[in-house]
Point group: C2
């Protein structure tokens, strides 16, 4: 199978023009935005030119289908609110190139996918979660983004193109190529990582309901300050996690909204995101207990109300042994001594696809480990090496 | 002087229809909003009917001027983003009623004012600060609200009505009637508070600049999480203030903005408001030192950047002894045994007016001490008692 690195790189750069941030190579292409929808239309045309049958499912996930049984490759083309040019896009364009090269060389049948809303405007890997049957479309439609828009409203914009959900039985397996989004390969000067398993994630919103009041006339001892409740909660879980976590465990409060959010008003309400990740499902559960207990204790101690949003999440998933072997053999051929086996700290659509198919993943380095930011980048030589390893693995299947 | 409680209360209820929130008696009437501008137009008509000369200054502060030397009474008619019906409005309508009653009974000449942006959409008591010469109009025009709108842009909407700044020499003194906005009078079952002095306030924005990154793949020990810096700062000042503050001292973090504010991204930036108040200027200064040192220590310890916005604020101000005596004598007549002397924890336009004139303030109770919220309210009997005390004090001058 003869892949074409020039064609691959030029398509990859072409895709980042959709929603280009104007800051470095950054992109702003959240799910169902105009930039996302036009990018998918461009991808659909590329799939067609590659002799693949274009198909959108009800979520707006875009497939390029080969005839008969085929290997499925791909990732996602939506981005974070402020995202990099490779997060997701790399896996889709690499899949496109391998599908083209395989067809040109009469190689194995390869289908391509770009799942919708992997970045979780409405949840967590929403498109592949619904496709995998983990969440019904009816349930998903009730999910809202931070502005209150429902998924049902958002996917209306793609409804005209939508067909049925694709039958997974036509696929033999799924391989997703992706940037590492962490520092390890870059720090070691290695080109490729073959993923052993994907960590699990838990994600929920928590709200403390205090008492909105005047910031000058309400004595400190009479206040029910929702932001102070958040501060106490954050400190408390930091303490209690110490006995439970490993160096691979992470937790993040990335979103905070105070109400009414004014200098001269004691915050009456604080709503924030609580997300935590680990490779061990039991540990995720123990952390959830700590979180719920700590929040309740703080609410009781400070006399404020407490409510938990629905908990979204994904279980840790082990990669297919056979697919890993193919990737490892190919990595040894194309990047001898410059690759490693590693877990994925980020969640990926592969986690959902694993409900139907054997899955595997392939990483290339993220310069300085930076991702989910406009500065995200990877040396083009490493991008091409990753593509070679992917193609070599597919050829081996 | 015969005040008319019915006329007073009916005007007070009429004013709350402008920007009525639909929740209780709450109002949404921030400075320069359409509700604020139409409310001022209605007030201007009332002033005219009371035989006062209507005058808007360049900031949009509205005066009803009596002929010759006069006592100035008033407050403000703009509201918090979610405000009560009495905060400011009470002092303006009480002033209107006393001016009307004085004119009808051939009493002393009384002028009325509703200052603009007391609630600080663009700063702190912005309208009276500029009138008092503490801040030039050119400087003030550069102030921005949280959406980035400049004061210059906002006051454009009132420019057509604006005349010059009013010469303070025509006024002999200023008395502002206001709700307490705190719990003390209500808890004691008292009707009136005669203010001894107004606490000083300091208000600034602080920004921690961390490193925006992926919340799944960035190990905790490599993070530069701007929200965690805010959390550490909040805890540290809470500790250090213990040795400096009194039960009357307050401090508030009421506004927090994370960037990019997403569940799956380590916050790269946290901008927040830091406001503190006390009756002792030295203590305010000692707290400022603690705040700046604590922020610097946290920034250094966590390897994040730090920047301070301009510090706005007002010095503590003592009320005029003569005006206080008049108010105390009137309180003893109309609310014997049901009034007290007390400091004001809230800042008021009187603080700025004190640069030109002897000033005094009069409080009525806030039910449950609630203010800066839709639930803010006061028993109408207490509103009328306050009006009687104000009118009696003016008659005594």
């Amino acid at each position: 199978m003869n892949i074409n690195p020039t064609r691959f790189l030029s398509d990859l750069h072409a895709l980042r023009q959709f929603g280009a941030s104007g800051v470095g190579k950054g992109v702003v292409r959240p799910a169902y935005s105009e930039a996302d929808i036009t990018a998918r239309a461009w991808l659909a045309q590329k799939f067609e030119e590659a002799g693949l049958k274009v198909h959108y499912d009800p979520m707006g996930s875009l497939f390029g289908l080969a005839d008969g049984p085929s290997v499925l490759l791909g990732s996602h083309s939506d981005s974070q609110p402020e995202g990099g040019w490779l997060d997701g896009a790399l896996g889709v364009i690499a899949a496109l190139e391998v599908a083209r090269a395989a067809k040109e060389s009469g190689g194995p049948a390869v289908s391509v996918v770009s799942f919708q809303d992997e970045e979780g405007r409405f949840g967590v890997t929403t498109g592949s979660t619904v496709w995998s049957g983990e969440l019904t479309l009816e349930e998903a439609d009730k999910l809202t983004d931070r502005t209150g828009t429902t998924l049902a409203e958002a996917r209306e914009s793609m409804a005209s193109q939508a067909g049925n959900f694709v039958d997974p039985k036509q696929f033999t397996c799924f391989i997703e190529m992706h940037i590492e989004q962490g520092p390890w390969l870059d720090q070691a000067g290695e080109a490729v990582g073959v993923v052993t398993d994907i960590v699990g994630i838990r994600d929920m919103r928590i709200t403390f309901e205090g008492e909105q009041n005047h910031a000058g006339t309400t004595p400190m001892h009479l206040r029910k300050d929702a932001f102070q409740a958040l501060g106490a909660f954050n400190a408390l879980i930091g303490e209690r996690f110490k006995n439970v976590v490993t160096p691979q465990t992470v937790w993040t409060i990335g979103h905070v909204k105070l109400h009414p959010d004014a200098h001269s008003i004691v915050p009456g309400r604080a709503t924030f995101s609580m997300q935590w990740r680990d490779g061990d499902a039991d540990r995720l559960g123990r952390m959830e207990k700590i979180i719920r207990h700590a929040a309740s204790e703080v609410a009781e101690a400070q006399g404020v109300g407490l409510s938990f949003g629905p908990m979204l999440g994904l279980e840790p998933v082990a990669m297919s042994v056979d697919l890993r072997s193919a990737l490892e053999a190919s990595a040894e051929e194309h990047a001898a001594g410059r690759w490693r086996k590693m877990p994925s700290g980020a969640l990926h659509d592969a986690t959902n696809v694993a409900r139907y198919l054997p899955v595997a993943m392939l990483f290339v380095p993220s310069i300085n480990g930076i991702s989910h930011a406009f500065e995200e980048d990877t040396d083009e030589a490493d991008l091409v090496t990753g593509l070679e390893v992917l193609a070599g693995a597919v050829a081996r299947l």
